[in-house]
Symmetry: D2
Subunit: 140 residues, 4 copies
């Protein structure tokens, strides 16, 4: 795995400022490394669906963010990535204090960086895996 832009961290931090929807949700990307990122957010009532659990759309969004920026850490200075497709499996009901997500590249390619992401709920001292995603991040 190779980062073709040595300035990937500062470049991504600039981009994050303009990630409107991520800020609207309250998610923060706090680890940016070669081929992997992590982020978290405090869970609020606004993140729920009708039964009081975290909305599947929130979970898909953070999976997309951590996987997408993991792919982004590897591309060249004049390249970017867009999500080609994402599949997410909802393994357990999500309810807790904090949502934590991590994404990583499983295969770096010329056209596609294949990535995965896991989403966890933290509740007091407990950590529960609530969803797993696989995705094709297309290099543009």
């Amino acid at each position: 795995m190779k980062a073709y832009n040595p300035e990937f961290r500062s470049r991504i931090k600039e981009h994050l400022k303009k990630q409107e929807f991520m800020h609207h949700m309250g998610f923060n990307l706090d680890v940016i490394d070669v081929g992997r990122t992590e982020g978290r957010m405090k869970l609020e009532k606004i993140h729920n669906q009708q039964t009081g659990l975290v909305h599947g759309g929130v979970i898909a969004t953070v999976a997309d963010i951590v996987a997408g920026f993991a792919a982004y850490t590897l591309v060249g200075p004049k390249e970017g990535v867009v999500t080609g497709e994402l599949k997410i499996s909802y393994l357990r009901a999500a309810k807790g204090d904090t949502l934590y997500a991590r994404g990583w590249v499983i295969k770096q390619g010329k056209k596609i960086n294949f990535c995965e992401a896991e989403v966890y709920v933290l509740n007091g001292g407990n950590e529960t895996l609530v969803a797993k995603a696989t995705t094709s991040m297309v290099i543009i």
Copy 2:
């Protein structure tokens, strides 16, 4: 296709009041029929990612909502549905005035209602298909 709860419309309308994240985004489900739903929202700056296009997470969320409630129209009074998994393909960049989504059941089952969803961007008079999703809605 059979709706096992004749009161599905009023039941879903009650549920929608408590869909916190859907309201936080501004999405509204305006068609609820046997095995299919439709909804839309005005696109605002808060829905964007860093390049000014609609965030993939927003698109995945509305796909999940229209497919999930399409599945919900068919289940019995004591049943509900949860998203087992969702795959979404991002076909085109999304930029416009309004996001419109429609979801439908392609196979009603005892354990799973398999659904699909399409998400469109409306821009002036033009309508563009920006994403297509397939999903397994698990009956609980």
Copy 3:
């Protein structure tokens, strides 16, 4: 949708001769049109899994073939396609005389042709949809 190689039919027919696994299964691609293909095969005992139903792998294989060649009809003379990813939903148990599949491109792109496929079982006069697939065909 545009076929960048006017000779796509003859080119695909040449390729099909060398599709070893397709012949090993007995599948035949009998419709090759701009952005879509169809094929069928007689179902034999060798196509089954342990309970006497058609094996999910057989169904995934024919979905991959019809979607892949649908994508192939559109690419230029010096291009090819490979399957980037495929998701298939198994809607019903498959048992019958004949397996029929059709694939089509839903979005032609520069890097990816997004495709779908449906697989049917024919049993006497009845036709049953047994699976639906979505796939990213990467242009190389």
Copy 4:
């Protein structure tokens, strides 16, 4: 993770005898453990697509088999599993002597055992990951 049928190994071995398509391909399941299985086959010309690489359908089939039987190791004596859906990402071109696959359950549930599978090609001393799959195995 819990195997609800202590006799799962002998039961699966009985089933494997009747896996017609698996035998037609030449695949053999040689590890059957609680929540995980492994198998392999010698690669022959019949497994190829037109460019001399292993057919994507072969790879999807072995992924389905190892994931499906991994799910099967956990269900009760009167239960079985069927593949609800499978998504497979093709990471690298597959060419070599032997195809090796392993599948495992990532979340055991009451209705669905969520599984993953990896498919490798062995070529002389080298082992290459060529595909990764995620799947919902529905308990029946």
